[in-house]
């Protein structure tokens, strides 16, 4: 019924900056370009979450792709009153948990060729503007410490922290994505922040006067 209610001419009549809800409706009707627009909107955010959870570039890319393919195949289950990004984040979190379970069952041997040991793809873009190599080096070192501190958190705390403090979800939305009570989500966010604060103690404290 929905599919027949859209025609090719509707594409031209589409809003210039269509809402997620509109794009989901079109995607449900079989408009793959509409779904592509949703992927375009959320690929960096989903990738940030997934990479934060698995800490490996290749795995994160594969899983990010899987998340959006799963999302497409499950569009029929998307409720009209749902929010697309919390819905896709939930799929992302569950996909990461499944991947971690699989990895525990079939652990891969460590290899020095593993991209995670030579991962430079995530350096801040502003790094290149530094003309001062010393400053650039400090910047790289700091970035590596921050990422190491984040990956040192337990997956439960890391997920809550990334969703709230990197992706900007509210505490209530974090609870919905993680499928836990609001109080639990708040507590995880707080514990993650305090743990990171401890791990980065030397970098975030000013000497007391």
């Amino acid at each position: 019924v929905i599919a027949s209610s859209f025609s090719a001419t509707d594409v031209a009549a589409a809003p210039r900056s269509p809402t997620d809800q509109y794009l989901v409706l079109r995607a449900k009707a079989g408009d793959t370009r509409a779904y592509g627009e949703l992927v375009d909107r959320y690929q960096d955010r989903v990738y940030t979450l997934v990479h934060g959870m698995v800490n490996n570039v290749d795995d994160a890319l594969d899983l990010t792709q899987n998340v959006f393919l799963k999302g497409y195949s499950r569009l029929g289950q998307f409720r009209e009153d749902a929010v697309f990004y919390t819905w896709i984040y939930r799929i992302a979190v569950n996909t990461c948990i499944d991947a971690a379970r699989r990895r525990r069952r079939n652990p891969e041997p460590y290899s020095l060729d593993d991209p995670q040991y030579a991962d430079n793809s995530c350096e801040p873009s502003s790094s290149s503007v530094y003309d001062d190599p010393y400053r650039s080096l400090i910047n790289d070192e700091l970035g590596a410490r921050v990422r190491a501190a984040l990956s040192g958190l337990s997956p439960i705390l890391r997920g809550a922290f990334i969703l709230h403090d990197l992706e900007g979800l509210s505490q209530q939305e974090v609870a919905e994505v993680l499928g836990c009570p609001l109080g639990t989500a708040k507590s995880r966010i707080q514990r993650a922040r305090l743990e990171l604060r401890e791990r980065l103690r030397g970098f975030v404290e000013e000497p007391s006067s």
Binding site: T32, R33, Y35, G36, V39, D40, Q43, D44, Y47, T48, H51, G52, V57, L61, T64, Q65, F68, L69, Y72, S73, R74, L75, G76, Q77, S121, C122, P124, S125, L142, G143, V146, R147, L150, F161, I162, D165, L166, Q171, K186, I189, Q190, R193, L194, L196, R197, L200, R201, F203, V204, E205, E206, S208, S209
Partner: protein, 150 residues
Amino acid sequence: MMCRSVRRRLSDYLDASLPARTLLEIEVHLEHCAGCRREEQALRRVLALTRRFASRTVPVDVTGAVLSQLGTVPAERVRWPMHAAILSATAIAALSLWAVTSTLTDRPQPPVAVAARTLHDQSRDAQALGSDGLILAADIPDLGREGWRR
């Protein structure tokens, strides 16, 4: 407010997810307590650093890769949960029984009873054909808007 309660609430304070009065009390405390102010500043720096260094941009064209595979992704069929299946089966059985008794007594049948019989027949046919036992929303007959009247 004591330092201990302030530090316990600093995370919520940064999110402004506390009652206005508590936020104000913490603000007043921070103005006068250098130790708690240092803690608050340290937490703010943690958030700034992680946002700066841990946010990522996907390094390849995920959209293109996903779009190229969309044609091969089948839509997932909705598998009814066990309790829903039991409830549905009970409802269908009850309605079928009611439909049979109302036929015997020559009473008009409500559309829902007709639909229940259709669904029952489809289910029986599917079993005979060796179906995988899944019921799709499209398999459920449209009951229409017309309510049943005696």
